[in-house]
């Protein structure tokens, strides 16, 4: 009889340890995922001045759009925390998107190999940011789920694990974009 009790205690102990370790490992992977996103974001910050310099000469009538990109970039560089960064990044993506659309109007620009390379670089950076975000969000969902389902929530509560924040698309990004179809004068 005493063996049965010891057996139960032993199995329960193993289960507690393994759940705690799983939660800790996930927490560290979530932190790593967040740092990965920051690496990609920094890459974009570094590429943007290049793009603006290259197209400035050609797109003389679009100075205010280009200026918006620079401002959005400066704002994004000083943001901290998941929510603030997500909002600032959203604004930056939006202004960059406008520049790409405007670039379609300038055939000289489209045939310039440097510009095409830069566009590919920025395209892949946007994709890399998107995929890092996706991976981070998937990890966070997994982590939060493990903390909330029974019986994992007992361990999570006891050892004070906190749910992490998702990198969410801010409201501005989801608003319909205003497209100006009027011809330039």
């Amino acid at each position: 009889m005493i063996f049965v009790i010891w057996g139960i205690v032993f199995v329960a102990g193993i289960w507690i340890i393994s759940t705690y370790n799983t939660l800790t490992a996930l927490r560290l992977r979530v932190q790593n995922g967040w740092h990965q996103i920051n690496v990609q974001l920094k890459r974009r910050y570094d590429l943007i001045p290049n793009l603006v310099e290259t197209v400035k000469g050609y797109m003389q009538f679009e100075q205010d759009t280009l200026q918006k990109v620079i401002d959005a970039r400066s704002k994004a560089m000083v943001s901290t925390g998941v929510k603030q960064t997500a909002e600032a990044q959203g604004a930056l993506s939006e202004s960059l998107g406008k520049v790409f659309v405007l670039m379609e109007n300038y055939p000289d620009l489209k045939s310039n190999q440097n510009v095409l390379d830069l566009q590919e670089e920025l395209s892949t950076t946007e994709n890399q940011i998107a995929f890092s975000r996706q991976y981070y969000n998937d990890l966070v969902t997994q982590y939060n789920t493990k903390q909330q389902v029974f019986p994992g929530n007992l361990i999570a509560g006891f050892f004070k694990f906190q749910p992490s924040e998702l990198f969410a698309a801010p409201e501005a990004e989801m608003a319909l974009p205003k497209v100006n179809l009027s011809l330039p004068r």
Partner: protein, 302 residues
């Protein structure tokens, strides 16, 4: 689950050969099932040498070359692989390009650290960026799901079964004197003998089934990574219509490719008998499943 079936099948055949020809499992015979253990040993040796040396050999035989950063398409390919590595949370694999007009891709490597992806020049020309991304995601899924490891283990078991069946055939001519020893049950003798005789064929069919199942899994995982099953479906459609075989692919390397590189007529037929013999699932079915994932009930018939 199929791999589990495989292991059980191997043990049954091993046990049968031991019972029939080496008087195993009887009081008069040896303590260990000799045949099973020896067969496993030989098969492991040959397969594991291939496993550890394999990646370099395979890439060499296909004429795979490293990327040339001067070419825009190669830079784009490297970017696409980086994106997929981020999406899957894996380390960045080595990227190679193979000079062949047929569009195809393959992944090799035993684990994430020495993984490699090779893409043909035909694929780079034929598919656009989104579709290439889908194909690369499929290859990354193979790496992440450790399919090379699984298929290697399956090869070991297939090889082991072939060796056992071979010994069984030879043993059949020498064992008449043994038949009086031990407690050989005559009712078991004939069925087990038949089982051992057909086992190599059954083993190959099982291995094909495992390979097909992993292909479906890789398609699904790729859709999870890109969140865009349509791009992979479009890539499959384009590759199916191109229909060209890869020149340097052999029957040994064929299972590693994205689509069957030998382009036998079996691939496009849908009969269940044909399905049993191919390493890759029928392309039409893969496309239909991907469209289903995208929530489009009716695949566009092109």
């Amino acid at each position: 689950m199929l791999a589990g079936c495989f292991i059980v099948f191997f043990l049954i055949i091993g046990g049968a050969v031991d019972f029939l020809f080496f008087a195993g499992f009887t009081p008069a015979g040896a303590r260990l099932p000799i045949a099973t253990v020896l067969a496993l040993g030989f098969a492991s040796f040959t397969t594991l040498t291939a496993y550890y040396g394999g990646s370099g050999l395979i890439l060499g035989s296909l004429g795979a070359e490293k990327l040339d950063m001067q070419i825009a398409e190669h830079r784009e390919l490297r970017n696409i692989v980086t994106e997929m590595a981020l999406a899957s949370g894996a380390a960045m694999p080595q990227v190679y390009v193979m000079d062949d007009a047929a569009p195809n891709a393959l992944a090799t490597g035993t684990n994430e650290k020495n993984a490699a992806i090779c893409v043909t020049t035909g694929l780079l020309t034929l598919l656009d960026r989104e579709e290439t991304q889908g194909v690369v995601a499929h290859e990354m899924s193979h790496i992440r799901n450790e399919d090379t490891l699984l298929m290697t283990l399956v090869s070991v078991l297939v090889g082991g079964i072939a060796i056992l069946a071979d010994w069984g055939q030879r043993g059949a001519f020498h064992s008449r004197s043994n038949r009086r020893d031990g407690a050989k049950n005559p009712a078991l003798f004939i069925p087990l003998l038949l089982l051992v005789a057909v086992s190599p064929l059954l083993a190959r069919l099982l291995a094909m089934a495992v390979s097909r199942q992993r292909e479906y899994l890789a398609d699904a995982t790729a859709a999870e990574y890109t969140r865009n099953p349509r791009s992979l479906a479009r890539a499959l459609e384009k590759i199916r219509d191109a229909g060209a075989p890869v020149n340097k692919a052999t029957r040994g390397t064929a299972p590693l490719f994205f689509c069957d590189p030998l382009r036998r007529r079996l691939d496009d037929s849908e009969s269940s008998l044909a399905n049993l013999l191919t390493t890759h699932p029928p392309i039409a079915r893969r496309i239909a499943l991907l469209y289903e994932m995208a929530g489009m009930a009716q695949a566009a018939i092109r």
